[in-house]
Point group: C2
Chain length 208, copies 2
Amino acid sequence: MAKAGTKKTARRRTAETAASQRQNNRRDQVCAAAAKLFAEKGLAETSMRDIAAAAGMLPGSLYWHFPSKYDLFLQVHAEAAGQIAQRVDAALKETVGPWERLEAAAAAHMAGMFEKEGTVALLQPVFPDDKPELSARLREQRDAYEARFSALVEALPLAPDVDRRLLRLMLLGSLNWSPHWLKTGARRRSPAEIGRAFVRMLRQSSEA
Amino acid sequence: MAKAGTKKTARRRTAETAASQRQNNRRDQVCAAAAKLFAEKGLAETSMRDIAAAAGMLPGSLYWHFPSKYDLFLQVHAEAAGQIAQRVDAALKETVGPWERLEAAAAAHMAGMFEKEGTVALLQPVFPDDKPELSARLREQRDAYEARFSALVEALPLAPDVDRRLLRLMLLGSLNWSPHWLKTGARRRSPAEIGRAFVRMLRQSSEA
DNA sequence: CTAGATCCCAAACAATCGTTTGTTTAAGAT
DNA sequence: ATCTTAAACAAACGATTGTTTGGGATCTAG
């Protein structure tokens, strides 16, 4: 087929595809195990040995996939943020009213946080002061995601005396705090329902 | 004067008072230093060496005042919780209306969290899974404090379809999350004002 | 068949952790 | 002056931390 192409590209492409089949087989597995542990115990309380054991390999082997523990955490964080952002964006595409959009975003935010065990790690802000680079990256990811809510609140038809910033912070705070009391088992209402309920509680009081 | 009293009691009393003057001189100092560090970096990220350095003594000397790191943390946590509870109770004594009482409690909660640097440590729930005793004690302290808000919400005149539990959780979540974005310097509104604003946002929408 | 890449193991590295031990200093009590 | 106790120092303990090193499979490309 592509044998007529330049030797280099042809060789490289086959090498890439063949390699990528074999490549990163267990990388995602490591990520998943790390996500779960980070979400359960936090960054500092989770050791590389714990992650390695959960992923079924030795501690040193992790360093073939990730250059450091913080890079691994950053990867997990980015994936979690991306998943929730994807959910929110998908929900927003199907919704039109300003309040309905905020409600859909809150529901997607909650559903995204609780869909997988590891995703909750996103919201617990862990900013190690001795790793300013890591903290900066985490803030970037978080800010980029939360910008969606800034826009949604900005679009609300509100009475002129309502502090939009405070409304946004109140909603996000109550959403992000929910993992502390919402247990995954035997929940009365689904996470998405709770997110919608929070938005509705804010709605009538501040409508224009 | 008291020389006619029994030798034992007289001697013991003077010994106690004299000892208590000399006793626990730097214990509070250690507590304050630990509270500040715990609030800034959390339990796991704060080492006994950090605390000792901040208190101006050597690591081993801490163990004369506290039997372990977790006991020290528990003490700090209890003091912080007690201070906020005291503020809330004082504010409630002067307020009568159900909504006004909730508003006053939220304001006191916020003011208490931000009055000292170390007090914020209260709200960041740190429950090490390998120390169930510590986790249980922390939960006790937190639950005992938050019971106030349960009672306050229960006393609100609400429409019958309003979920009081969810309203309480929303308020407490947004309050407890505020340290993540409310910077101590150059704040637009005081913590107490923000707490009041949060309650007002909930008020009109759910009033009976 | 050889060369090289991929992936992991086995073992150790230096650093830091919470904690313990033995000793010393200072001050009040007898 | 002697005895006791509070409070700290100095130094180390074993365990755990994140990470490095070197080598051994396993597979693919040439």
